[in-house]
């Protein structure tokens, strides 16, 4: 009898661990503040999570391929500064593709170092975190960037408008998530990403060009970062050099929360999206509950650990196990 009930819980968790955690948080915060699930608030949280979310989509590819990308925060700051600066110099129509080109070059450079030269991705991207920050500061001379004519530009479309009643950042996030989700789950390339991350040597012997797969993952990551930068810049029509600082860890937390393994080989886009939403709703929920900020740091950590625990328990099939 005892075994039966354990199996039941375990089986349920095993299928939906992270979703159960997500539902628990939503219920908890709703009890604490009835406004939490008000449509305005939910829409607001998803919209502001969208920027983090877009970055997390790309990082999911990188993590599944068995690597890390800690440079995304600085790269996002870089993209906002570049696109805002060029906006006033050459107009938005040219500024946006120029910014994408520059960010993709950075992504290609990292992809080359990690993929073809096989350097450790932690070292490479940690280095790029500060190198790109330096690049941004050199470019901007330390100044905040602001668009001169904030009312008269269509550039605000990406961050501030609605299409069919849905904010554009959410649409872009959903669109990219679907596209990348299909690429990861349904295409040969997607399967190669899992193969390279699961067992790189075996993948190489199976005829997969490992370097090219890793390189492509970093290109996808840079593409996502550039899009996130576009949304961010358009949302406030101004930016500071440190706008993306610390985001690399939040992005990584969201991806790990979604259940991707840091060792590579597992994870899905859908779960990353859930991870992003959990982080977004936690931040917002804690603000609404009105805890002191220093309590918030601790509570955020506890909630993340709780979510990861539930997810691991789900994989094991029980909440507690004497063996790993």
């Amino acid at each position: 009898m005892d075994r039966f009930s354990k199996f039941d819980l375990g089986g349920f968790l095993a299928r939906q661990g992270i979703l159960v955690a997500f539902a628990l948080f939503l219920v908890g915060f709703t009890i604490a503040n009835e406004r939490f699930l008000a449509p305005d608030n939910v829409m607001g949280v998803i919209r502001s999570s969208a920027i983090l979310g877009v970055m997390a989509l790309g990082v999911t590819f990188v993590v599944i391929s068995g690597n890390l990308d800690l440079s995304v925060g600085s790269m996002m700051s870089f993209s906002t500064i570049v696109v805002l600066d060029l906006h006033d110099k050459i107009g938005p129509t040219l500024a946006i593709p120029s910014m994408y080109a520059m960010v993709l070059c950075l992504g290609a450079f990292i992809g080359f170092l990690v993929g073809y030269l096989k350097l450790n991705s932690l070292i490479v991207t940690l280095g790029m975190l500060s190198a790109i920050h330096g690049l941004t500061l050199t470019y901007s001379g330390g100044k905040n960037m602001d668009i001169a004519d904030k009312e008269g530009t269509w550039f605000s479309f990406f961050g501030q408008s609605d299409v069919l009643g849905i904010p554009v950042p959410i649409l872009m996030f959903a669109l990219l998530a679907s596209l990348l989700g299909i690429i990861l789950a349904k295409t040969p390339f997607g399967r190669k990403v899992y193969a390279v991350g699961g067992n790189g040597t075996a993948a190489t012997f199976s005829g997969i060009r490992r370097a090219r797969v890793v390189f492509t993952c970093y290109i996808l990551s840079a593409l996502c970062v550039a899009t996130a930068g576009l949304l961010q810049a358009s949302r406030s029509l101004g930016s500071q050099n440190t706008v993306g600082q610390g985001l690399e860890l939040e992005v990584l937390a969201a991806v790990i929360l979604g259940g991707a393994s840091l060792l590579g080989g597992s994870g899905t886009i859908f779960k990353t999206v859930i991870g992003v939403l959990i982080l977004g709703f936690i931040q917002n929920g804690l603000l609404l509950v009105g805890l002191q900020f220093y309590v918030q740091y601790v509570v955020t950590w506890i909630i993340i650990i709780l979510a990861v625990w539930l997810d691991i328990a789900a994989k094991r099939g029980k909440l507690w196990s004497p063996i790993a």
């Binding site: 305005d40 500061l137 050199t138 330390g142 905040n144 930016s239 500071q240 706008v243 931040q283 603000l287």
Partner: protein, 320 residues
Amino acid sequence: MKTSFKSALVATTAFVGLTLSGAAMAETMKIGITQNNVGVDSYQTTYEKAFIAAADANDKVETVVLDAGGDVARQIAQMEDLIQQEVDAIIIWPTNGEAVIPAVRKAHKAGIPVIVTNSNIAEQGFEFVKSFSGPDNITQGRRSAEIMCDKFKAMGTENEAKVVHITGQPGYTTAIERAKGFDDRLPEVCPNVTQIDKQPGDWNREKSQKVMEAFLVKYDDIDGVYSGDDNMGVGALNAAKAAGREGIIFVGATNFAVGYEAMGRGEYWGSIYQSPVDDAEAALKTAIDVLSGKDIPFLNYFDTPKITQDNMAEFDKPVF
């Protein structure tokens, strides 16, 4: 690039200093400065430019301009370099109010007067410091409270207004002092105004916008927002505009160009005008005064006046 250029400059200056020592240079004051983190924001960038310009304009002054890049260890090393070079005075913009004290003490023991600029060091280091030159952040917070209260009185809402408060980075002296000044002064001038919530915006416009969005969801009635600087204030303003909430009085501190523009559009009420140029010039002047043997107060504040939509025409638009 910048740092290596500066180290080269230091090396050259040191060399020139050595070769010329004892010669006709006796009349020149050699002042070294180690700054916090030039390039991290426009304020510090403008400060450095203004400092160099002010020093160049004075032929009696020779300067060694260094930047710690926000790194405490590097700043301590720079202090030691300056002591080795036997400069006449050292100006320090502390990266950390506690950690730099031993280095300040060392300079003091070597007989080099130390002037702290912009943000003060911790109190236990005061005995090793000749003078502090910078803004008075507590007064700034108090003045922001007065600006807000005066506006409520003008609107006739001083008996029911509700205010939310977005602070700077937790643990940062400027953030703590401004918040304290505001929190203390508001109930003195407007006893019936209530402060309903306070959260940090980390000096970050985007973070502040998120905080304000949550405030707007949580409270139906917000009449005023005080932010620790205009950069965050504009973030909060963006959130209110996006939510279609009107009639909120925004008051900030450290008037930024974006804040100044928002005031010009009538969306942002007021702030505190703090010029990095004044800040830099005050620091240099304090150092020169110390070396000329003038009697100067320990806390040498430069004035940071109130700026609102009413009097903004008297001020130039901030460069940052």
